[in-house]
Symmetry: C2
Subunit: 204 residues, 2 copies
C-alpha cells in the first residue's frame, strides 16, 4: 500500500476516528498537524492541494487525497473484520455512520467545539441561538444509541465495526460539550467495551 | 431478494435517491407514503416499528428496516456498476456521499424545505436566523461540486456512481431553495447527463 499520511488537528474526533481505525487494523499512519482555530485549513495552499472544502481530516494515500472521516475509515478497514461482509450488515453499518455525520456530530461535536475550545463567551449570537436546538438533538442521538445498545453489545452484528468507531469518537468526550453520559448507561458500558479492544489507542 | 418497501414522503429528495437507484439497477420497489409535515413519522407506531429516529426514508427489506438514504442506496446497488470495485474509488464515492449529508443536504435541502414547503412566513425566529448561513454554505457546496465537475464528467471515475445519485437528488431542485443553478454551469451540464441515464426516473 502507498504511504499513508493523515492531515489532522489532534483535537478533532473526526481525525481520531481514522487513527483508531488504523491502530485497530495495524496500519502505520504518518500525521501532519494543522490548527483549525488559527485558520490553517483555509490557506490557499491547503485548499489547492489537500482539500478544496477547507476541512480536516484528509487521508493522503500516496499522491491522492481522501477527505471525509468516515470515508477514510472505510478505506483503511477494507478487507478487515471492521467491515462486515454480509450485505444487510454492511449497509446497516453505513446507516450508523451516516447517522453519526447527520444527527450526532453536528450536535455533539459542535457543542464540544464551541464550549470546550472556543468558549461560550466568544460565540456569535447566531451560534448562541443554536445551542438549545443542538443540545436537544444531541440528547436525542445519545438516547437512540442507548436504546440500541441496551439490546445489543455493538451497533451491527456481534462485534465491533466502523459504526462503533465512528460513534465512539465524539460520544466518549461528549461531556466536553455539556452532555451527561451517566444519563445513558448502555452507552457508558459500550464505551468501556470499545476501550478494551486489542490495539485501542486513546484520543490525544 | 426479500420484498423491498420504501417508507417515504414523495417530496423528499432523500427518498427520491432510493427510487432512482432502484430504477437504475432494475429492482422493483413498493412504496408507503407518509406526510412529514403532518407528523406521520413521529407517531408511536412509526417510532416503534419503522425508525426510532422518526425520519424517512426507511428501506424495508423483508422484516428488517434500514434508515438513512445513502445506506439504502448502498444496499440496493451492491454488486452493480454504481459502486466501483476499486478500493480508492469506492472510498472516494463514500467521501462524496458523506459530503452530501454533511455539507450539502443540511443547507440546500433544508432551505428547499423551509422556502418551498413550509413557507418563509411560517419559519421560527431560530430558523430565520440560520437562513443566511445555510445559503452561504449551500453556495459553497455547489461551488465545490462545480469545480470538480469542470474537470470530470462524474464525481468518481468515468461513469455514474451512487455519489452522482446522492448529489443529484437535491441539486437538481436547488432552485426551490433559492439557489441559482445558472451560477454553476458544470453542475447544469452534469444534471443533464444524469437525466439521460438509461432507466432514469424523474422526481415525483
Amino acid at each position: 500500500m502507498a504511504d499513508l499520511t493523515l492531515h489532522e488537528d489532534p483535537r478533532s474526533g473526526n481525525c481520531y476516528k481514522i487513527k483508531l481505525t488504523a491502530a485497530l487494523v495495524g496500519l502505520p499512519l504518518e500525521t501532519r498537524q494543522y490548527d483549525i482555530l488559527a485558520g490553517e485549513t483555509r490557506t490557499p495552499e491547503f485548499l489547492g492541494s489537500v482539500n478544496p472544502n477547507g476541512r480536516i481530516p484528509v487521508l493522503q494515500i500516496g499522491a491522492r487525497f481522501l477527505p471525509e472521516s468516515n470515508a477514510a475509515c472505510w478505506y483503511l478497514a477494507e478487507g478487515s473484520p471492521l467491515i462486515p461482509g454480509n450485505r444487510f450488515d454492511q449497509a446497516d453499518m453505513l446507516r450508523w455512520m451516516f447517522f453519526e455525520q447527520y444527527s450526532h456530530e453536528p450536535n455533539i461535536a459542535t457543542m464540544r467545539f464551541w464550549l470546550h475550545f472556543v468558549g461560550e463567551a466568544k460565540l456569535s449570537p447566531q451560534q448562541k441561538a443554536q445551542m438549545m436546538a443542538k443540545r436537544i438533538a444531541g440528547c436525542e442521538a445519545l438516547k437512540l444509541m442507548d436504546g440500541h445498545l441496551a439490546q445489543s453489545g455493538w451497533f451491527v452484528g456481534d462485534g465491533p465495526t466502523l459504526a462503533d468507531i465512528a460513534l465512539f469518537a465524539y460520544t466518549h468526550v461528549a461531556e466536553d460539550g455539556g452532555f451527561a453520559l451517566s444519563d445513558y448507561p448502555a452507552v457508558e458500558r459500550w464505551i468501556e467495551r470499545v476501550k478494551a479492544l486489542p490495539g485501542f489507542v486513546a484520543m490525544a
